[in-house]
């Protein structure tokens, strides 16, 4: 028995050590710095002034709150739209038709694609001299690049949302396909024989069955898009700016006081994501208890 215990401890120590020292250690040290602890410039006292500065000072408040709003808008919109597109794609593609294998492959093609490349792809397709603008010019819809709507590097975050939809729809698609596959068509046939129409079958049969998986996938996508740097860095504008980009730029600022503020921002991002995840677990646990 003692041997087994030793085996468990020895096996788990290396990966735990990596996660605890590098990941939690990094967060902890970042937190300390966000409280103003900077031995490099002889600052040892701890306070919350970096948090106050970022959120309420005249200099940064507008930047922060507009950034937070953009963050929430981009994450909600892209998660929701990606899930909806994937759901319709997965439902439609279940039937047999010519080219099904190829279509399934194309629908999952963006799954292993790095976010960075998807962001570059959005510039190539949606910018004012991109592929779509050229097509629109060719069929006479627009006469100059300026007539094409600003969809990349725009202040509403459309380009960022498009990139996340492109990328995450594939993720939702794979998850939905396997759920639908494991369900089979029995439930739907049963509902159909009981007289349910297409909408009713979708709303009362399929949706409740795929909802748990769809929802947990949404949490992953939301959390990722809330804290990721590359896509908004390439496709965003200077104002309003998404929080991860803002945190990073504060951090790179040669002024060492801005460093504390960058750390404070990154801790705020992590806190929001954490609250969301805890809320999600609380929600699913509450639902299990209710059932």
């Amino acid at each position: 028995m003692g041997g087994e215990r030793l085996k468990i401890v020895l096996s788990l120590t290396p990966p735990l050590l990596i996660i605890i020292t590098l990941f939690f250690g990094g967060i902890f040290y970042g937190f300390l710095q966000s409280l103003g602890y900077q031995p490099a410039i002889g600052k040892y006292e701890l306070n919350f002034s970096a948090y106050y500065n970022v959120m309420f000072s005249e200099r940064y408040a507008k930047l922060f709150w507009s950034g937070l709003a953009l963050n929430l808008w981009v994450s909600f919109a892209s998660t929701f739209l990606a899930a909806v597109f994937a759901l319709f794609g997965a439902l439609a593609i279940r039937k047999t038709f010519v080219g099904k294998t190829l279509c399934k492959f194309i629908y999952s093609l963006n799954l292993p694609m790095p976010h960075l490349v998807v962001a570059v792809g959005m510039i190539f397709v949606f910018s004012q001299s991109g592929l779509l603008a050229r097509l629109a010019a060719q069929i006479g819809m627009i006469s100059s690049p300026g007539d094409f709507p600003v969809l990349v590097r725009d202040k509403y975050g459309f380009g960022i949302i498009l990139a996340y939809i492109w990328k995450e729809a594939a993720f939702f698609f794979i998850i939905l396909m396997s759920v639908l596959q494991s369900l089979g068509e029995n439930f739907e046939e049963l509902a159909q024989s009981l007289g349910a129409n297409r909408w009713q079958r979708f709303r009362y049969v399929i949706l409740p069955l795929v909802m748990p998986n769809l929802f947990s996938a949404s949490i992953i996508v939301f959390a990722f898009s809330f804290g990721a740097y590359e896509v908004p860095a390439l496709l965003g504008v200077i104002y309003p700016q998404m929080l991860p980009v803002m945190a990073f730029e504060f951090f790179l600022n040669p002024d060492l006081n801005a460093r504390s503020e960058g750390m404070a921002l990154s801790i705020i991002i992590a806190l929001i994501v954490m609250i969301l995840v805890v809320f999600y677990f609380w929600l699913t646990q509450a639902k299990i208890r209710k059932d």
Partner: protein, 287 residues
């Protein structure tokens, strides 16, 4: 009526596929046409100039086998970044599999106190954003001299990869029957033989998938490499990012094609393993 509906359905799937593949089409047009002026949809002439400028293809007239070798041996930036990305990816994947193997076995086969807490600690890097830990870690790494080193970059890549490899392999061991090992041992096989003859073949398929996706996670890492590498370690994602920011579409497209090539290869290779049920898929959220 019903037939019409079906046809619309199928056409919308084709349309969706076409839309999804538009960026890829744009990558190839950009990479193989140096002057693709607005509003041409199809470029007037094809050109390899982007590839020549990146020193991946020799100038016309030197395109012999030796010409290619000479050019690549001169170590152009793209080749350097490619070699760095590959080395870091392969190294980190091997290390993560070796570290994860015993842990996943214990987590998948045994029940013990604090198991839930340990799994919770392991998965936390998959939920919390990398920017939350890497800023603090960066300063620590500078003070102990890991910053800007190859070793430091490999170490920091382990953070997003570790949880994901441990979880995938825990799933494999949860469906694994260790009784076969006991049988082999009673028949006289030693520990090493048992591992290579019994355990490894049983877990190999799942392990290969975990390894391929671990590699992809490292391959597409931008922020961690940028901060910990401190500008000294150039990898492909860093090159794509800086070229894209400086705005030459042909060069960006050509580097991007090299960058996405392994991703597509891995998808083709593993498409039958990839399903929402497998833990492997959840790792994609991080790429």
């Amino acid at each position: 009526m019903n037939n019409n509906l079906k046809r619309i359905n199928i056409y919308s799937i084709y349309l969706g596929a076409l839309i999804l593949i538009l960026p890829l089409i744009a990558f190839f047009i950009n990479a193989f046409s140096f002057r693709w002026f607005y509003p041409q949809v199809i470029p007037k002439e094809l050109s390899l100039q982007a590839w020549v400028r990146l020193k991946l293809i020799p100038k016309p007239g030197q395109r012999t086998f030796e010409g290619f070798l000479d050019l690549w041996a001169s170590n152009p930036t793209v080749i350097k970044a490619l070699v760095n990305s590959l080395t870091i990816g392969i190294l980190v994947t091997i290390v993560s599999i070796i570290i994860a193997l015993p842990a996943a076995r214990v987590l998948g086969l045994l029940n013990f106190r604090f198991k839930k807490l340990i799994i919770f600690i392991m998965v936390s890097p998959t939920i919390l954003p990398p920017i939350a830990f890497v800023l603090g870690l960066n300063i620590n790494f500078i003070s102990i001299g890991f910053s800007g080193s190859f070793f430091g970059v490999c170490l920091v890549h382990l953070v997003p990869i570790m949880p994901y490899v441990v979880l995938t392999m825990t799933g494999i061991f949860a469906n694994y029957n260790p009784d076969f090992e006991h049988q082999a041992r009673t028949l006289g096989a030693n520990k090493t033989t048992t591992f290579f003859q019994i355990t490894l073949p049983a877990i190999a398929p799942g392990m290969v998938v975990a390894a391929l996706f671990a590699f992809l996670v490292s391959w597409s890492q931008y922020l961690l490499t940028f901060l910990i590498g401190a500008g000294k370690i150039m990898t492909l994602p860093l090159l794509v990012f800086s070229t894209a920011s400086s705005g030459n579409p042909a060069l960006t497209a050509a580097i991007s094609i090299i960058f996405i090539f392994p991703a597509i290869l891995i998808l083709v290779f593993t498409s039958k393993f990839v399903s929402g049920q497998s833990g492997a898929t959840s790792g994609f959220g991080k790429i």
